[in-house]
Symmetry: C2
Subunit: 233 residues, 2 copies
């Protein structure tokens, strides 16, 4: 792996969302999109999108794009006439973000939230492999019908190590969240997506944590609304 230019975090996150969007648009049968259209769909200015996309060339070397070649503009394609070809743009972003080879994930906690995630279509698409799901309740494990392998929570460390699971998705009750996270870290997990309503503390700086917090989202929304109220009077 060459150490090609590291992306600015805001760009990285926008590209990750764009990647998802492009997939959706492809499914709708479109062939090309303009930065203007993407702008409307993502709520991000069009020049910001173009700027973000300009990072795709760097580090890619000359294998894909030689000389003054464009990222792939102007192939007529769709009714739009011009714009970025969906397919190749998506591939480029995927390559830049390292979304080309599948990652392994596990799910811890099979309450309502866990089951909702267990049933998501994303696991059928092949980019992420959900190779294990855990719960404390033997009963629950038996009742669930799914193709994903289910384990008792006591097997957590063993299974994570055995399959070298990279990403852990936490959907346990708040009381159990911190301890579960610690166990995942000890077992060598590399990233955690935390859906439990807790602020996790992870010592190791090798482990990335993304907190998904309903309370946080509600507060952020309220604060923006409040600012709107101030301005509107």
């Amino acid at each position: 792996m060459k150490k090609d230019s590291t992306l600015p975090p805001p760009t990285l996150e926008r590209l990750a969302r764009l990647y998802v969007l492009l997939g959706k648009l492809q499914n709708q049968g479109l062939q090309a999109v303009s930065s203007k259209r993407l702008s409307e769909l993502l709520g991000v200015p069009d020049h910001t999108i173009r700027k973000d996309l300009s990072f795709l060339r760097e580090g890619l070397g000359t294998e894909q794009l030689t000389g003054k070649e464009k990222t792939g503009v102007g192939k007529p394609g769709s009714g739009l006439g011009r714009g970025y070809p969906l397919e190749s743009l998506r591939v480029l972003i995927g390559a830049k973000l390292g979304l080309t080879h599948p990652r392994t994930a596990c799910l811890v906690g099979l309450g309502n939230l866990g089951v909702a995630i267990l049933n998501r279509r994303i696991w059928q698409e092949g980019v992420y492999r959900l190779v294990a799901a855990f719960d404390l309740s033997e009963n629950r494990l038996e009742l669930l019908s799914t193709k994903i392998p289910l384990y008792h929570a006591r097997e957590l460390e063993g299974v994570v190590r055995k399959y070298r699971i990279e990403i852990g998705i936490l959907t346990v009750p708040p009381e159990a969240a911190q301890e579960t996270a610690d166990r995942l870290v000890r077992a060598g997990i590399r990233g955690i997506i935390n859906f439990a309503p807790v602020v996790l503390t992870v010592k190791s700086n090798r482990v990335l944590v993304r907190n998904v917090s309903l309370a946080g989202e509600l507060n952020i929304l309220s604060a923006y609304l409040y600012q709107q109220e101030d301005v509107d009077g």
Copy 2:
């Protein structure tokens, strides 16, 4: 409402998370925290926290903090000896973010994900009032036992208007998400938290949308991991 200084978005979002954290720490019986400790817990540098907190004074006028008074440092309190007094800091942030008066919310879609959210403790805390939940299935509505008023989805617009619901939480299947969002907007909702795996398009710029996307989080995490791999070799 006076139009006091608008917060920089990153500051606003960090303060919103900090607000949640302070509540947790209070529940643990603590009385004070230093910016250093908060830094560890939030993964944000301590000077950034202090800087963020410095915005709390502005616009608050002289009612609360007169002259050279501090935000509230140094009251001995806990074993720590020094730091920010939890209680008053939390109140200040709440006031600045407009978290003092309760907001009304509704939940649309009572599948596994919806039910998980329905049962969250946050609705008991009084800051947010979940005044309605909707689903298409009469059967489902009858089976659920909860104190939250349940309605058939056809009553969406009416109920949202009647109770002037401000925030809509979307937990419907992906196919239904866009249409449901449109209906919420038409009924006068002011903000949407979208848990459905769809990129929503909302025309009205009076309506704020927060997308919570598992796929997005997975991609962001993968991309960061990929960058780590590049650096580590």
